[in-house]
Amino acid sequence: MADNEYTVGSKLERILKAGHFAVTGELGPPQSADGDVIRKKAQLLKGACDAVNITDNQTAIVRMSSIASAAILVQEGLEPIMQMTCRDRNRLAIQSDLLGAYALGIRNLLALTGDHQTFGNHPTAKNVFDMDSVQLIQMVTAMRDEKMFQCGDPIKGQEPRFFVGGAAAPFADPIDFRPYRLAKKVEAGVQFIQTQLIYDIEGFKKYMEKVRELGLHEKVYILAGVGPLKSPGMARYMRDNVPGLRVPDYIVDRMTAAGKPWAGKKKDEMTKEERKARSQAWRAEGIKICIELIQQLREIEGVAGVHIMAIEWEEAVRPIAEGAGLLPRPEV
């Protein structure tokens, strides 16, 4: 990262290379062909972050393609980070989509293996997994830097040039191997990393310690993943049921305490207004916790930014970024 040359010159790359603490958001495409959904969500995120992840059939549910959604985002004047998974495409389809994505003005890519289709709405589908995320990173990098298709054929004419990102799950098992898996992605050519949601700051500090020991923080920009909780139920579910997530009890307790005025009341005993008030109290606390997490993450050496995942709650990104003192976003 010592060189000042841009590989692509996307806004995200420029922000990170300038040493600014980056903010990325996330936008889930609709389960329909309505492009206005993207346009509306884009307005919620505009100016609140430097670039926006466009998920690729997230959780294996059919949605508008990430490439089309990202192209709409470009039209709206926002910078997309197009997610690309290996679940639904083989190496031919991935490369052809990358050529198209570049032609449509998309400049950032997040290379992922992808959620297994069992979790989605087409569990009987045949998956692909021709490649994995590490191989995908390697392929995209070689297309850009060596102007070469995966098969070794040269790309004659314009090569697709992407600022290449990957994911990291610091708390998934085997936990000791996680920094080394990140090292593999770095070796493959990854330039920025967005982590799984971090709630356990102490645990993440330990991970980052190992990352620094391996010198990885000097080779890749690490954006810590954060997300506002909507309810104590969501906090408990994430704590107890989602692999690779660690939610400390104090966070669950804080979310529970936020709903204290309505404690002991069952959902069907409450009026619509009461339910709404409780939900708002929970969400306000969720945003507050998220802001505090960002402030703590910012203090950790090697954390170059945050990736705010407000799933189906894009409105939350601006108050979170604002509350964390990250607005206005720098012009680069």
Partner: protein, 227 residues
């Protein structure tokens, strides 16, 4: 071994249609060992079908026989008359067995009584697990003898993914995370460096993706001797 399980009786009855003479043909090799289609299962299947025919009021003669291996013609030839005589042969062999009968006796109508499931082994009484995907390019030497193609839900070559928790795969808690097993084994053998090396994209051409496969061994083909 090849591991299979029996189809539901209702589906088998459907497959038999209005056949009057049915031969239930067991196989004495893999499916005998996994208790799906050996001599014992063929006999039980035949009597179940006899009972079902009685209940359904269908006139049907059901015989059962078992050959050593349905996947070799020389064994099938031993029951050639019975196969030809039946309206339907209900094979309790694996998918290879069904097709071997069809190829040897084109005049016969053969239906499967089993769902052939995987290449694997028993790990306890009554539990079989998949161990090999027959990908045609064995990488067990790189993974400590644990196959990520057969045993990782995403067939990762550079695993584990983020869905590994407490040694289990997020796809199903009954699935051990193959990459956790690989990690533990390589670590115990002091060979973790194998996992640090990036494995390139796999040549799937050697797996089923290059089309149906065939192995030709010129050194043992008969025509060479004849020349």
């Amino acid at each position: 071994m090849i591991v299979a399980e029996q189809k539901p009786l209702e589906e088998i009855k459907e497959l038999l249609g209005d056949a009057e003479k049915v031969l239930v043909l067991g196989c004495g090799t893999c499916v005998t060992v996994c208790f799906a289609g050996g001599a014992r299962e063929a006999a039980i299947m035949a009597s179940s079908l006899r009972m079902a025919s009685k209940i359904d009021g269908v006139q049907r003669i059901i015989n059962d026989m078992t050959v050593q291996r349905q996947c070799e013609w020389e064994y099938l030839d031993q029951v050639a008359d019975e196969i030809r005589d039946a309206d339907v042969v209900l094979s309790l062999g694996c998918g290879v067995g069904v097709q071997a009968i069809v190829e040897r006796f084109p005049e016969a109508w053969v239906v499967p009584g089993l769902n052939t499931t995987f290449m694997g082994m028993p790990v306890e009484q009554g539990v079989w697990v998949e161990r090999c995907a027959g990908c045609g390019d064995c990488i067990l030497g790189l993974t400590g003898g644990i196959c990520p193609i057969a045993r990782c839900s995403k067939q990762l070559l550079n695993g584990p993914c983020g869905g590994s928790q407490d040694g289990k795969c997020e796809v199903d808690p009954s699935i051990d995370c193959a990459w956790q097993l690989i990690y533990d084994r390589l670590k115990s053998k002091g060979k973790l460096d194998l996992m640090l090396k990036i494995q390139p994209p796999k040549n799937w051409q050697k797996a089923r993706h290059g089309g149906p496969r065939r192995i030709v061994r010129e050194d043992i083909r008969l025509h060479l001797e004849e020349e």
